[in-house]
Symmetry: C2
Subunit: 226 residues, 2 copies
DNA sequence: TGGTCATATGACCAACTGGTCACATCTTGA
DNA sequence: TCAAGATGTGACCAGTTGGTCATATGACCA
């Protein structure tokens, strides 16, 4: 936990520090982010930095937690759709929201993405827990999907959850890959509208693919065996 | 390119060095591998190391190239199946071979995996080229698959290639994830037979999923002909 | 034997890291 | 006005890094 001193900081100063740190951890892996450079870039003394956070590790975990909180807040910003709309419609909604969040907070998103899917900088229960929680969430979703008849009944739940989880991580990956250069260059500016819609379309196609892959087959299952 | 001195080394010494380096780069990202520790662990002086390779970078790229060469040699070890067997059968064969190679050379494989899908330690044309080559390869495969009627004709080739490429990377990922602990603990011993077959089965399921997702639909598309 | 050349070595270097701490400065309340 | 406590600061520390280089070693040949 950051110290009281950190929370007592004038908003502007605190936000500048956070922005600097988020930007740093977004474009480079944990080890490449230097506390000295961070302090310098944020315009504060290194000693101050260590008065706010006991460690580099604490600072980092704080940022990851921040990303998780903001994402959750973002999802709760609107009424979630009724579960009745079916599993794939729900996944589409979730993807849409995730993309929106990512476009609005590219660097914060990137920090979380690295934490979950990149090299883990140090063993940490909360990070591992978050990843497992994601998979468990999908397991629940799949169990429901099967019960409701949205999904094929012969799916291996654990494996499918892993697949979907990876799939969602690929969404992020895809964006970073295809637009990596662009994001790096104008590292803070939002992505162009045309790039955004291009990405949305691609993701939509991928979801279609997933739906065919694991969705209940209207023709095949009933009647003849394959 | 390593120096002549390196190639002149007695086999045993050279291999010990290579093994040490491969092990190091397999379990840790580039930046975490220390040349000093490497030299020490391999039982040679640091100066010698720098007589063989001009840089850390050169050593690393040499290992990656080595992995690529060995994998290629491994694939050419047996006659590849005729392309006529169909796209998915071919993919199955390819996956099988990749798994075999990975089981036989876990650490070498891991080095290559990190190079392709992990954080790229430095900008390098050959690494990027390798990744793109992989995607292009799949693009060719998909184009053929569509022409032959194995695949739906409405697929976005580029996007599907990306998906398959990612899918194959997930194969590696999955293994590392599910068996991470085991691999770390007995870091050189081969995986147990039962673990291997468990993995093969899971991969098979994933391939089924992929086939449903992008394969030509016998029922859906053309109204009930099979 | 002495000379030449490839090879081996580890002390050494500058640059950097995460982290500390004695001290300077500011804010607050009396 | 002054004291006390909170906050800011950057020189400093030990440790590590990638990389260098003068010197030592040893194999080969005359």
């Amino acid at each position: 936990m950051p110290s009281d001193t950190f929370y007592n900081l004038p908003d502007e100063k605190r936000e500048k520090l956070l922005r600097t740190a988020i930007d740093a951890f977004a474009i480079a892996p944990y080890e490449h982010v230097s506390m000295s450079q961070l302090a310098q870039r944020a315009g504060i003394a290194k000693g101050s930095l260590y008065q706010y956070f006991t460690d580099k590790r604490e600072l980092y975990l704080y940022l990851v937690q921040l990303a998780a909180d903001e994402k959750l807040a973002y999802l709760q910003r609107v009424e979630p759709p009724s579960p009745d709309i079916g599993m794939f419609a729900y996944l589409r909604w979730l993807t849409e929201q995730t993309l929106d969040f990512q476009f609005a907070n590219p660097n914060l998103y990137q920090v979380a993405y690295r934490a979950l899917y990149g090299d883990r900088p140090f063993p940490d229960a909360s990070l591992q827990g978050a990843q497992e929680a994601g998979i468990h969430y999908f397991e629940g979703l799949i169990t429901q999907g099967i019960a409701r008849g949205d999904l094929r009944s012969d799916l291996d739940i654990e494996l499918t959850a892993l697949l979907i989880s990876n799939f969602f991580s690929q969404v992020g990956n895809y964006i970073v890959d295809t637009l990596g250069k662009e994001t790096f260059d104008r590292s803070r500016g939002p992505l162009g509208k045309e790039a955004q819609s291009q990405i949305r379309q691609a993701i939509g196609t991928l979801l279609d693919l997933l739906e065919r892959g694991i969705g209940a087959q209207q023709h095949d299952d009933t009647g003849e065996n394959k």
